[in-house]
Symmetry: C2
Subunit: 496 residues, 2 copies
Amino acid sequence: MALRAGDHSQAAMNGLKEKVLTLDTMNPCVKRVEYAVRGPIVLRALELEQELRQGVKKPFTEVIRANIGDAHAMGQKPITFLRQVLALCVHPDLLNSPDFPEDAKRRAESILKSCGGHSLGAYSVSSGIQLIREDVARYIQGRDGGIPADPNNIFLSTGASDAIVTVLKLLVAGEGRTRTGVLIPIPQYPLYSAALAELNVVQVDYYLDEERTWALDVAELRRALLKAREHCCPRALCIINPGNPTGQVQTRECIEAVIRFAFEERLFLMADEVYQDNVYAEGSQFHSFKKVLMEMGPPYAVQQELASFHSVSKGYMGECGFRGGYVEVVNLDAAVQQQMQKLMSVRLCPPLPGQVLLHTVVSPPAPSDPSFTQFQAERRAVLAELAAKAKLTEQVFNEAPGIHCNPVQGAMYSFPRIELPPRAVQRAQELGVAPDMFFCLSLLEETGICVVPGSGFGQREGTYHFRMTILPAVEKLRPLLEKLSQFHAKFTREYS
Amino acid sequence: MALRAGDHSQAAMNGLKEKVLTLDTMNPCVKRVEYAVRGPIVLRALELEQELRQGVKKPFTEVIRANIGDAHAMGQKPITFLRQVLALCVHPDLLNSPDFPEDAKRRAESILKSCGGHSLGAYSVSSGIQLIREDVARYIQGRDGGIPADPNNIFLSTGASDAIVTVLKLLVAGEGRTRTGVLIPIPQYPLYSAALAELNVVQVDYYLDEERTWALDVAELRRALLKAREHCCPRALCIINPGNPTGQVQTRECIEAVIRFAFEERLFLMADEVYQDNVYAEGSQFHSFKKVLMEMGPPYAVQQELASFHSVSKGYMGECGFRGGYVEVVNLDAAVQQQMQKLMSVRLCPPLPGQVLLHTVVSPPAPSDPSFTQFQAERRAVLAELAAKAKLTEQVFNEAPGIHCNPVQGAMYSFPRIELPPRAVQRAQELGVAPDMFFCLSLLEETGICVVPGSGFGQREGTYHFRMTILPAVEKLRPLLEKLSQFHAKFTREYS
């Protein structure tokens, strides 16, 4: 251990040294990462909240965070059954309490039996508790009209984001023209662009067709693919259905066409289906990629590689804070699947409370269970309110001149196009910000409404949008939408 | 959406296509990842458990998982206060229950007030709930004799692993001779080698001195550094204190010397201090790198970059399944710290239940609180038992010929050196496995005891070790240690 005297004195006398880690020496891929949903506009919203608390006068009394799909933060109450089961698992003394229904207790007991030492404090196997993976498989099978799901193909995760990044990691390879490219929709949920930037994978944009309710067109996929092949090696295609931020629900025909395209072009399919319970529009229905793929039969059903993602953060439960989710892989090469398992094992296991909530979501109370009636009532109330808010949002925005809002068929967001006067665009350019960022920042400063500019999700050049959640309580939502529309009108006048 | 007929028929007729993702085309860095703690030996243990359940006859009746630091799985009971606070947060109806102490209720109420919508189901800010980061700062300040900690330098995480990987990610840069290298101890906790492999960073080994209770020697650090500089750019130095798998507790002098070395050589310091509450040996004491760094004064205290990691998975609480932890960064470049914050925001937030447990760990009941007496009794009982088991392990192993075990001064593992007869080494080579893997697999097959071979952690060539946790219940541990020692004697005879 002995250090010779004088070894370090020279260094110590030299005065200030440069840091090891600076913007110039840090990971350049990390520097390229952007994540608009929690970007500069949200940091400004935080500051404004602090200023309000300190008594600074503002033209509004509260900041409304319509930037992120965080249902509980907007006042949605947890589903009682979910929390009862989890509380029992966390503190098993409660199993003796008369205040908990028998079915919740049975659930908690069976989960605890599957845990090391009968405690949520033990690690689970890295892919998640076996019992819960079996529940997920049964859920998928039920959802997909009896098409079987194999618990060994299901990996629980720390929210869907974790699973998405894990699958993307497997795909990283090559350099220069052989570097992996991944096709993602534009507009997209910025987890994708952020993860691709971090992993140094080429982002290949395909555009959704705003004029046709953000439809996905195979001709556009092909255009994007052929162009990308000039400079990289596209190997995967990401689909978000129902769409985030765009809210469209894909038709069965569309999904079939996408699967055929992926099969022909040898693309690994990644289906982000975290909003599968959030479908509101009449005539819209959720079709899982897994079901459509299997129903298409061979060669698709037996060869096309697919990963499908789900989460406890959205749906009717909105339990974002628990970070629970899963991925089901289909037709994955067995050796690659082993590698995926190994990779996940390095992080030990997904958080157990999220696994427990996932269990309750994929196997909710049955009609004969004591908790059934309350559970159904709570679930239906949330979904009915979301449907009403989706409709209201579309309505109010489309009454406003210069705002064009596609139907919110599913998910939790509207993504209206806004007209911005040339002088506003010019002013934004002078300030060095995107024009819709300029609009959203102005909106925030003047009204306290926090929405995310379309430039954070991607959009056709020269068009401007913002993403706003439909989550604010229904009595708040109408005035909010009207306030926003009025602000847009005022902003337009100001810069005309 | 229309797909021209015939577009895909050709492809569909071609019959079997190669998968997009195969071992040949997948991420080569992921392929290189190894994680012994959950590696082949653990997969075999799982199989054996299944065989036992199916009634297959074995020379043992249960598999004993001494491979991983998972206290609850080995029968340790959760600390009551921790689980009470968490249950109240999960299911706030319980705030009306007379069965919970007032101080647990107060805690839960203050945490819920800091959550969006007063629910654990809301996302927190990406660095974790502000209130809890303030608690962590106060805890650090108390631990470090009043040296202040800034909540803005504290980032909560999904277990310590998550935070460690995040910091390593920042350091990735360069190619060829400028590629980042990171110094890690050998033996090491294999999260480090796994993360470096995945990130394509050069692993630079420095050896701990087994003859001097796994001491860290600056001369050895220098040797490793100079050699590494011939082929890469070493930029960070990882220290695990108390040691995993080696159980040593570093002296204050050693830590000072390491800090001077890092400062001179411009290395970013990463201090893995997750076992800071697990110090058992008389005369051993935990010194945090932060405290020593600050007490060394300028230039070290104001310039040396340091990240220190902690977790709720170890200590007296052992709450691994909740995946809670934090990193404190010191002297980080402000712009880099912003980049780190941004990177973390992509994963939204660490799981809230882990954040809650961290809160209770860093601010346990005060002497005047109703829960104090029980909390203290439970905490002390766990730590006293661990200390006894550390002592017992060292004793029993050192009585066995051919097994040499350093004192388990801290952490949760023994890492004894075992002599293996040349014929056993030769037999292992014939089978294509490391000799200590051969020993551990034979041990598992014959006794049901699951320990991890030293080759999974790294060791000096020609030496053989295994890591075994000290966690089995005390009444089980002695027979277990004796059984293992006897097996080693038998194995040695067999191959002599």
